[in-house]
C-alpha cells in the first residue's frame, strides 16, 4: 500500500490560537480517510494545508511524494478540492460550472465523464438551472462533480455533508464508496460520528489534536470500560438520577437511552434498587459494545482532564 499523504508533526497557529498541534498521520492509496471532530477542531485548516492553500508553521506534509510547500504547482493538478461552502458559481448554470472547472484543469467534460456519470446523472436534468437555485443535496453533487472532473488522484472534501439532510448524506457516501474502484484516494472531514463508520481509517480530532487514529472498529474497541444502556420512560429524570448514583463514572444521553459507565464495571442489583428508590419504574439495563461516539466522548473527557 503506497502512502499517498504523509503528515509529520504539523503545527499551525493563528495568533495565540493553536489550530493544529503536532498532527501526524498517513493515508494510503484508494483509502477513504475520515477526520471526525466538531467545529474549530482544525479540520479545515489541515485540509487547506494539504491542498497547498496554507503553509504549516512547523512540520511537513508530503502528498504523492511531493512536499506541500515546494511542490504545490504540480500537486494542484492532481488534487480535487471541495471546500466547506461548496464554492460553486451561483450565477452560472450547472453545465457552465462543470465546463468551467473542466477547462481550468485542462480537460473536457466528455473526457472523464464516466467518472462522474453516477453522480452527475442526478442533476443532469437540471443542467441549465443556475447553481444558486439548487437544493443543498444537489449543490453537493455538483460540487463533487466539479472536483472530480479532471480525474484527480486525491479528493479532498471539507465537510461535504454539513447542513444536508440524512437522505442526501446517505446517497453521498454511496457515491464516495463507488469512487474507490477508480483508485482515487479520498480524505473527508465531517462532524457526524456515524459517517466515521463508513471510512477505512479515521482520525478523531479535537482542538487541533488527534485523539485517536485507526480503523473505525479498532477505535471502538479501544473503549476502556464496559458500556451499559439504560432505558426508562422519563429520560431526563433518568439521566439526573444516574448522575446521582455514586458508582457512575459517565452517563450520557444517546438517542432513546442513556449510555452508562460504572466504577468497577459492575451492574449488580444496587443500581436497579437505587433507580427504583428514586422513582424510576422499570428501567431496562443492558450491556452493549461501544460505538465510535462513545469512544470519542471518552477520549474528549480524558483530554480535558489533561
Amino acid at each position: 500500500m503506497l502512502p499517498v499523504i504523509e503528515s509529520f508533526g504539523v503545527c499551525k497557529s493563528y495568533g495565540t490560537t493553536r489550530a493544529l498541534d503536532n498532527i501526524s498521520f498517513t493515508v494510503n492509496e484508494s483509502e477513504i480517510f475520515g477526520f471526525i471532530g466538531p467545529d474549530g477542531a482544525g479540520k479545515t485548516t489541515l485540509f487547506r494545508i494539504i491542498t497547498t492553500l496554507l503553509l504549516p508553521d512547523e512540520g511537513t506534509i508530503k502528498v504523492l511524494g511531493l512536499n506541500c510547500t515546494t511542490g504545490y504547482k504540480e500537486l494542484r493538478k492532481n488534487i480535487g478540492y471541495m471546500p466547506g461552502r461548496f464554492s460553486l458559481y451561483q450565477d452560472l448554470s450547472v453545465e457552465e460550472n462543470l465546463n468551467f472547472y473542466a477547462t481550468v484543469f485542462g480537460t473536457t467534460v466528455e473526457e472523464n465523464y464516466d467518472l462522474i456519470s453516477d453522480i452527475y446523472s442526478h442533476i443532469e436534468p437540471f443542467k441549465k438551472r443556475l447553481a444558486g437555485k439548487l437544493s443543498g443535496g444537489m449543490k453537493q453533487k455538483l460540487a463533487l462533480s466539479c472536483a472530480l472532473i479532471h480525474k484527480p488522484k486525491i479528493l479532498v472534501l471539507d465537510e461535504p455533508t454539513t447542513g444536508v439532510d440524512a437522505v442526501s448524506r446517505a446517497e453521498f457516501w454511496q457515491m464516495l464508496e463507488k469512487l474507490k474502484s477508480h483508485n482515487i484516494t479520498i480524505i473527508v472531514s465531517t462532524p457526524y460520528m456515524d459517517e466515521a463508520m463508513r471510512c477505512d481509517k479515521v482520525a478523531l480530532i479535537q482542538n487541533g489534536r488527534i485523539l485517536a487514529i485507526n480503523t473505525p472498529d479498532k477505535i471502538r474497541e479501544g473503549f476502556t470500560r464496559k458500556l451499559f444502556t439504560v432505558k426508562a420512560m422519563d429520560k431526563f429524570k433518568l439521566i439526573t438520577t444516574l448522575r446521582k448514583y455514586p458508582e457512575t463514572i459517565t452517563a450520557w444521553p444517546f438517542g432513546d437511552s442513556v449510555h452508562l459507565t460504572l466504577n468497577g464495571d459492575n451492574t449488580d442489583d444496587s443500581l436497579l434498587i437505587f433507580l427504583r428508590n428514586e422513582g424510576i419504574t422499570d428501567p431496562v439495563i443492558e450491556e452493549i459494545a461501544a460505538g465510535i461516539e462513545d469512544r470519542f466522548l471518552e477520549l474528549m473527557e480524558k483530554g480535558s482532564k489533561g
Partner: protein
C-alpha cells in the same frame, strides 16, 4: 416521556395550514398540535418546507390559509403578541458578536421588556447555572462555539416564554456540548416551556417527545420516535427518515 401534567394545554394549534409563494406550495395542508412542556422535533429534508412553517409559527410570516394559533394567539391578527411570547434561536445568528456576555443578556432582557431587577437576577442565575462567571465580560466572538450556543439558548428563554423555537441549534458542536445542550433543553421543558426544535442529527430526534417529518411541503409522519420506529420496522429514526423523506428534487 413528558412526565408532567401539562399535557392538555395546547400551545400550538395548526389546522390545514397552507403557504404559497406564487404558484409554489411550500406548506401543503399541515395539521398538528403541540402541548405544553413537550419537546417537539420538526424534521425534514432541506427544501421540505420546515423553515417556512417555523417562520409562520414564530409570527414572522403570514399563512396563506388555514388556522394557526400559537401561545393562544392568532397568527394572522396577533403576530406581534406571538413574538412577545416566544423565544427564538437560529443557527446563523443569535448573539451580537462584538458585545460581551453580560451585555447580550442585558440587551435581550431589555428587548423582552423585562424589569431591570429581574434581568439582573437572571444574569446571575444564568451565569451560575452555565458556570460562566469568568466569561461575564468576555466578547462573544472570543468564546468557543459550544459556549455560544448554550448562552444563546439561555438568552432565548430568558423571559420564560411559552414556547422556544430552535433552528438547528447544535450544528457543528462537539458531542459533549451537544449532550449538555440537550440536557438544558430537557430542563427547560420540565419547567413547562415547550421546545420546538429542528435538527439534522437523527439521534437528537430520539430525544424528542414527538417528532414530525416533512417532505415536499407535507407532513408524512407524526408520532413518538418509538411508535414510528415500530411502524416502519426501523432501528433508528434515521432509518425511518430515509424510508419516508425524499430529498427535494433540486
Amino acid at each position: 416521556m413528558f412526565g408532567n401534567n401539562y399535557m392538555n394545554d395546547k400551545v400550538i394549534y395548526v389546522h390545514n395550514l397552507v403557504k404559497k409563494f406564487g404558484n409554489f406550495v411550500a406548506n401543503d395542508n399541515l395539521n398538528f398540535e403541540v402541548y405544553r412542556g413537550e419537546i417537539f422535533g420538526f424534521l425534514g429534508a432541506n427544501g421540505a418546507g420546515k423553515t417556512t412553517a417555523i417562520r409562520i409559527l414564530s409570527g414572522l410570516s403570514r399563512p396563506t390559509s388555514g388556522e394557526v394559533i400559537v401561545a393562544g394567539f392568532d397568527a394572522y391578527k396577533q403576530a406581534e403578541m406571538i413574538k412577545k411570547n416566544i423565544g427564538y434561536m437560529c443557527q446563523k445568528f443569535s448573539l451580537y458578536e462584538d458585545l460581551t456576555v453580560k451585555e447580550n443578556i442585558m440587551l435581550y432582557g431589555g428587548i423582552y421588556g423585562m424589569k431591570l431587577a429581574l434581568i439582573k437576577k437572571r444574569v446571575h442565575e444564568l451565569l451560575e447555572r452555565l458556570n460562566f462567571q469568568e466569561y461575564e465580560n468576555r466578547i462573544i466572538s472570543d468564546l468557543p462555539l459550544g459556549l455560544r450556543q448554550k448562552l444563546a439558548f439561555s438568552v432565548a428563554v430568558l423571559h420564560e416564554p411559552k414556547i422556544v423555537f430552535l433552528d438547528e441549534p447544535t450544528g457543528g458542536v462537539d458531542p459533549i456540548t451537544r449532550r449538555q445542550f440537550w440536557e438544558m433543553i430537557y430542563e427547560t421543558a420540565a419547567g413547562g416551556i415547550t421546545v420546538f426544535v429542528t435538527t439534522h442529527y437523527m439521534d437528537e430526534a430520539e430525544y424528542c417527545d414527538r417528532i414530525s417529518i416533512m417532505s415536499e411541503g407535507r407532513i408524512v409522519a407524526l408520532d413518538t420516535p418509538a411508535a414510528l420506529k415500530k411502524m416502519y420496522e426501523a432501528e433508528t429514526v434515521e432509518e425511518v427518515f430515509i424510508k419516508i423523506a425524499r430529498p427535494a428534487l433540486a
